[in-house]
Amino acid sequence: MSSSNSPCAACKFLRRKCTQECVFAPYFPPDQPQKFANVHKAFGASNVAKLLNELNAAQHEDAVNSLAYEAEARLRDPVYGCVGLIFILQHRLKQVQTDLYNAKKELATYIGPQAMLPILQPPG
């Protein structure tokens, strides 16, 4: 059981008893039914369980959350899912990098070749 009495969203959806050993219970709380519904519709509960089985327990939550994100994206856009956004972002990144390169080239005409060096320090 995910909490004292309430079955997790997965077991509620699948209409089965939610035991202490339920692999989904920690990640699909009963107050988030849509999360499991999406994941089950896109990937299937058994596939998700198998995927989790191959990971460490510490990685389960992140894996479930990323699967939930991808499932929702796939249901919203059955053709591209979340992959469409990847390519848009890659395209955008190239555009910004091109603009940055051109701006630095122009700056170099004022201050010399050091303009081509990174300006902002990385965090940390």
């Binding site: 988030q32 990971l55 990685q59 992140d62 994100y69 990385p122 940390g124």
Partner: protein, 290 residues
């Protein structure tokens, strides 16, 4: 399985399922027999029935694109079993944020340089004009050289506010996921990742987010000329990523108002012209993943 009396081979899907591959097999077009791994990845993530369900509801012209994205997504999940495509998206958004910040800084520097140049030109013009008025010879080159000083090496770090932002890995879609590339199993820190602490970044109209700056290309000025990628080509940045390595420690539970979770990313998607997506997808082709 070879069809009786024929030379055509069963597709990878039918081979895997050990069944007869008919001429009407809906998956044979997308899973050639010489690429079994591609089908295995797709089967592992989606399952055959889910793939067929997706295809069933699509127009014939959409099926090829859908299969390409499914195969790509499955391959990414195989390569990055914990974060999959979500991790890729977050990284890209961070890289865009970093590049935009640097672009902003360069533009500010450019503006200052232009103004500085303009001031020098104005001063030297005034100097010449006043000399002529007084009936004096134009100033010598030496005198003018006072106004034509060589710009000192520009220390942009001192001259501009350098923003050291604290970012969250998982703010890409305003979801309440807030975890990083932590792997407590191996506890092997990729040196690119371990040294950063992050907090939520909310001042982001582009819905970008922060990921490791070191994961930005080691050649920040390298311009990739191809606008689009094959679906099976995973960006070379991502080769440096190991899903299973330990990074951050803060996590937040997923909120199923994941209407919100996708809202911002989908808004940014919606703002992009549909033909941009199509052109980005235009060069996708099925290639071997083996």
């Amino acid at each position: 399985m070879t069809l009786k009396g024929g030379t055509s081979q069963a597709c990878a899907a039918c081979k895997y399922q050990r069944r007869k591959c008919s001429s009407e097999c809906p998956l044979s077009l997308y899973f050639p027999p010489e690429q079994p791994k591609m089908f295995q990845n797709a089967h592992k993530l989606f399952g055959v029935s889910n793939i067929l369900k997706i295809l069933k509801n699509l127009q014939p012209c959409q099926k090829a694109e859908a299969m390409r994205s499914i195969i790509y997504q499955a391959n990414i999940r195989d390569k990055f079993p914990v974060y999959g495509c979500w991790g890729i998206i977050c990284q890209l958004q961070y890289q865009i944020l970093q590049a935009e910040e640097e672009l902003h800084a360069v533009h500010a520097q450019l503006e200052m340089s232009r103004q500085h140049q303009h001031q020098i030109s104005s001063l030297s013009d005034d100097m010449v004009a006043s000399q002529l008025e007084l009936g004096m010879a134009p100033p010598s080159t030496n005198a003018l050289s006072l106004f034509n000083h060589t710009p000192q090496p520009y220390n942009a770090v001192d001259a501009l506010p350098v923003t050291q932002q604290q970012h969250s890995y998982w703010n890409c879609n305003r979801a309440a996921y807030n975890s990083g590339y932590m792997d407590t199993k191996d506890n092997v820190g990729n040196p690119f990742w371990v040294q950063h602490s992050y907090a939520n970044n909310d001042n982001n109209s582009n819905n970008s987010l922060a990921i490791q700056s070191e994961l930005v290309s080691s050649q920040p000025l390298a311009i990739q000329h191809e606008v689009v990628h094959d679906y099976d080509e995973i960006h070379p940045f991502f080769d440096t990523i190991d899903d299973r390595q330990s990074y951050i420690d803060s996590k937040e539970p997923y909120e199923s108002s994941s209407e919100e979770s996708l809202k911002d990313t989908t808004q940014s998607v919606e703002h992009v012209a549909e033909n941009e997506l199509k052109s980005a997808a235009a060069c996708f082709s099925l290639t071997s993943v083996n």
